[in-house]
């Protein structure tokens, strides 16, 4: 038992160390490396453009449900017109970035781990290295840059759609006065909420890219190894996103909403 625990901790620390080194290597390469536009564009297309449908549906239904539920509670205390303000603040600073992060972790993180992992087990990464190409330059950097760029945009989309659909549900299904609804939303939503959301999404993008690439590059042998790497990439990046989110809320809140 003790021995098992020890090796588990050791393994965890090794993983943490490796991913830190990978991040260091990726960031150095980010600033010194000439960008391969073709690879980058393809990743932006795959990661950004192709993720839109998932992210939009998530954003829309979250906004709708949040609007309806808030209304049901607020109606009891006659605060109907504050509904959209709640939707907007929670979408901007919490639900937008977190849900987008989780959906992208599931879609893109899994795809990255599977692709890079398959390249590893079929010796394609070794082949890259023999062709005098650093795997971090070729595999990690384009994905990292694409995610850094795409995540804030996807999050912004999801926030906008979430607020819009919350508005539609409030006005057309629940019969709230549209003018007060809108005015209250503007009154209680600060631009710092949006900034918090976008900063978070940027960080989550980095998490998804690094954990996906790390799991792929150190994946075990064979089909089983790739399968496990894919699962772990999704699980670890989702958990990391949720934990990081708490600390970001606490720290960004202190900075941007000084009391």
């Amino acid at each position: 038992m003790v021995k098992q625990g020890k090796s588990m901790i050791a393994e965890w620390l090794t993983g943490l160390g490796r991913i830190t080194l990978l991040a260091q290597e990726a960031f150095t390469s980010l600033f010194t490396f000439k960008v391969a536009w073709r690879d980058l564009l393809y990743q932006v297309y795959f990661i950004g453009v192709k993720s839109q449908s998932v992210v939009l549906i998530t954003g829309a239904f979250t906004g709708m449900v949040l609007g309806a539920q808030t209304y049901f509670q607020f109606h009891k205390v006659k605060m109907d017109t504050a509904t959209l303000a709640v939707v907007a603040v929670s979408m901007c600073s919490e639900l937008g970035p977190v849900l987008t992060g989780l959906m992208v972790a599931g879609r893109v993180g899994a795809a990255i781990a599977a692709e890079v992992g398959t390249m590893r087990v079929t010796e394609q990464i070794d082949a890259l290295r023999t062709l005098a190409t650093h795997p971090v330059d070729y595999l990690v950097v384009p994905r990292l840059v694409a995610l850094f760029g795409a995540m804030p945009l996807l999050t912004a989309e999801s926030i906008a759609v979430g607020i819009g659909s919350g508005y539609l549900v409030g006005v057309y299904l629940l019969g709230i006065d549209p003018v007060y609804l809108w005015a209250n939303m503007l009154r209680y939503t600060a631009s710092s909420d949006v900034v918090i959301g976008l900063i978070k999404s940027f960080v989550f993008g980095g998490i998804v890219a690094l954990i996906g690439c790390y799991k792929g590059m150190y994946c075990g042998e064979g089909a089983e190894g790739v399968g496990r790497a894919t699962t772990e990439a999704v699980v670890f990046s989702s958990i990391t996103i949720l934990i990081t989110n708490f600390f970001l809320t606490m720290s960004l809140g202190q900075v941007l909403h000084p009391t």
């Binding site: 290597e25 391969a36 390249m119 079929t122 010796e123 394609q124 070794d126 082949a127 290295r129 023999t130 062709l131 005098a132 190409t133 650093h134 971090v136 070729y138």
Partner: protein
């Protein structure tokens, strides 16, 4: 027998190389040197660490101890970025060819140039056509690796490894898993590359026919060390029991396996 490498500076030298995976010791003090332009075959049993040894020569694996000199430069302490410069001198053909399966044959072969971007597009295309011609696969530029047979993939892998005219080409089991006729054509191809491009080649194989055909010098890896080295004739005529058994393909007493 010739210990290898008297006179002249070796392009490639391995000193006291040791490597283990976990508790499993694979190489235990391997020493050899390879001269410029030589064609060396490393033979040994399957699972005996031949591929592991080959991967050390190009820095894909780091030894537990020992040194690997390329042109007099120890590559063991180098990091991945420093190794890039060294690897420009190398081409390597992998056991499973390791083609990039998301790319076409042409993109695979031109990979080294695509990363450098030093050559104009039409020149790259011409070079690709030339080198595909050389490996007897003209006109396959737009195929995907999944459409190719095992032998064809190895040819493409070889084309990809030699297009930038490396000084040293490493072959990891080039004929394993191929029928004798295709194996023979791959052997001829390796010989052609060696003669036309004037490269140093290191071939790892357990196929004795191709060892005889390709090796000016044969090193035998046995019991985690270089057991013997000599010319093809010396090895094939050797009276040493271990070498004889390997050359003739006779299994030892059963205790070895069970």
């Amino acid at each position: 027998m010739n210990a290898g490498g008297q006179g002249g500076k070796p392009v490639l030298e391995v000193r006291e190389l040791r490597k283990s995976f976990g508790t499993n010791l694979i190489l235990d003090g391997v020493n050899f040197r390879i001269e410029k332009g030589e064609s060396v075959v490393i033979i040994g049993r399957s699972g005996g660490g031949k591929s592991v040894l080959l991967k050390h020569l190009i820095g894909l694996l780091t030894p537990d101890s020992g040194q690997v000199f390329i042109d007099g430069q120890d590559i063991v302490p180098m990091n991945e970025r420093q190794l890039i410069a060294v690897r420009h001198k190398f081409g390597m053909l992998f056991q499973g060819a390791a083609l990039f399966d998301s790319m076409t044959v042409a993109e695979n072969v031109a990979f080294a140039f695509r990363r450098d971007r030093s050559l104009p597009e039409n020149e790259v295309r011409q070079k690709v056509a030339e080198v595909l011609e050389m490996v007897d696969l003209p006109g396959t530029e737009n195929k995907k690796p999944s459409e190719l047979s095992g032998g064809m993939r190895k040819r493409v892998g070889l084309a990809r490894a030699i297009i930038y005219k490396p000084e040293i080409v490493l072959y990891d089991e080039p004929t394993t898993g191929l029928d004798p006729i295709v194996s023979d054509s791959i052997d001829q191809l390796i010989a052609r590359v060696r003669d036309r491009l004037d490269v140093t080649s290191v071939v790892v194989t357990h196929d004795m026919r191709s060892a005889r055909r390709l090796g000016q010098r044969i090193l035998m890896l046995h019991n985690k060390k270089i057991y013997v080295t000599g010319t093809a004739d010396e090895i094939f005529k050797s009276q040493d029991p271990v070498v004889r058994r390997f050359v003739e393909g006779v299994a030892e007493s059963k205790e070895e396996f069970f």
